[in-house]
Symmetry: C2
């Protein structure tokens, strides 16, 4: 396997896991984050750190594992001017959830300075990120796929090849987020509705997970409600952002998405209730609060 | 195994399948339906027919596989007065989707004439009904479970024992229908939203079914959209009924279910567009119509 020099920008739960996976695969891996604590944690794992401006020139691949389009933009064209400093022929992997239009724009701007762009949103959560077992919804030039190949291999279990230019990767991610966000909200609505009818949350999980009403998100998140455990694996705040992107794109295409809009309103209410930093399963608390239900508490 | 004498009332796709499964298991099985064609079809399969008033006295078990509470009520207490004619100690299995309160009322009225009632809504679709592989969400007296046991064995792959009185079976079914109905509508919203972003329906199915956005309903119904095949396995008309029951129960408990309400509005629009008798995957046509998308057509 070719040993690459790579950097992960953004060492949150997803980025740190991806950086670890790159290290484990033998790549020279630099980590960057606004939080020096996070960088220090990565260095403790054997990762490298430094000044991005100095290091950029030697990188084969840069992964942007930041929150959104604004942060992606800021890293590439803001103060650090990463785009100007990257080596000709290197590849930028954009992992944030962004609009397909933004991804196409990034590809154009990278191309203008001789850099390939891979539109490559990620899915799977922090656990799979740490294990190098993400799903990556990727589109971009054959050259971008070729150069980035060893990094994709190191971080992902499944790489979907969705086309030879930027856009489809982000489009598929938006579709996935629409469904994932609606399914979490539907789980929260159903598990609390069940409680009003005498169905206990653990019975809900046991039965519905074996029935036609199940979803990946239900099986993943309902256990958090059953256990009363709202430590954030993925927090409520993600969803107004991601469903907002979905609705922005939808609106621009004249597409009405009323179920997504109904789900978004639930996440916004959760944030108004001060639940933003909790696990997104805390959406059940919105319904419980409205109806006066007692959700299971955390086991001592 | 004990050979029982049983009747299935309502020989639609679910009832006919269940009646066939009872026959196959060696039970003496009578079939009843308002449509004489359906009864004739069952007789061709080896089933029995006759006058319900005459036959009621010899039955061990009666399954009511009708559309809703009104039809259940009509069969038991309407012109045929089934309840008055049933043998002391026989068991009525109520399979329609009804409110828990209605199920409790049926149990009371059966008990008053010495008959046990099993609150036993079914799930799984026509295919599983035909194969004797349904899921049954059942609650009722131990005696109801005992007498009905051989019939449950003949028709179901999974029987959930949800308690020793009527109510929990119907409550769990309502929870399942909430989720199933929302998930079909979310699939329709997502697959057409994807099309506006250049994601083809077959690509949607390939990728999302492997991602966190998947659901049982998505994997079951999205292929209908991909194939342009709207022959009804389960029709649009089911959902205003079932989601209406969910919202009625929710309302009676002071529970606000905005995502369910948003999904219900989509089914109502589908019916207003004349799609009521099509497969419920035809909900995608509502979105396609609104946005001017061309869904895949049926292969010639």
């Amino acid at each position: 396997m070719k040993r690459l020099s790579c950097a992960v920008i953004g060492l949150g739960s997803m980025g740190l896991g991806m950086a670890k996976s790159c290290l484990a695969a033998g790549h020279e891996t630099y980590g960057f984050d606004l939080s020096s604590d996070r960088v220090a944690r990565f260095v403790d794992m054997g990762g490298k750190a430094g000044e991005l401006g100095d290091i950029a020139k030697k990188l084969d691949v840069v992964m942007l594992v930041v929150l959104n389009a604004a942060q992606t933009e800021d890293v590439l064209a803001g103060e650090t001017k990463l785009l100007e400093n990257l080596r000709l022929g290197s590849v930028v992997i954009g992992c944030a959830t962004v609009s397909p239009e933004f991804a196409r724009d990034m590809e154009r701007r990278c191309k203008a300075v001789g850099v390939d762009y891979l539109d490559a949103p990620i899915s799977g959560g922090a656990g799979k990120a740490a294990d190098g077992r993400l799903s990556i919804m990727a589109s971009g030039s054959p050259r971008a796929f070729e150069i980035a190949g060893p990094i994709l291999d190191a971080t992902a279990e499944t790489v979907f090849h969705l086309g030879d230019k930027a856009g489809p990767g982000s489009a598929m991610k938006a579709v996935n987020q629409l469904l994932a966000g609606v399914h979490i909200a539907a789980m929260a609505e159903a598990i609390t509705f069940g409680m009003t009818q005498g169905v206990a949350p653990d019975q809900f999980l046991d039965v519905i997970s074996q029935c036609a009403g199940t979803s990946w998100m239900l099986e993943n998140r309902a256990p958090h409600v059953v256990d009363g455990d709202y430590e954030p694996r993925s927090s409520v705040t993600i969803w107004p952002k991601d469903l907002g992107i979905v609705l922005d794109i939808a609106h621009a295409s004249g597409f009405d998405a009323p179920i997504t809009a109904a789900a978004l309103a639930r996440y916004e209410k959760a944030i108004a209730m001060g639940l933003g930093s909790e696990d997104d399963a805390a959406l059940a608390k919105v319904y419980a609060h409205e109806t006066g239900l007692d959700l299971p508490g955390k086991a001592a």
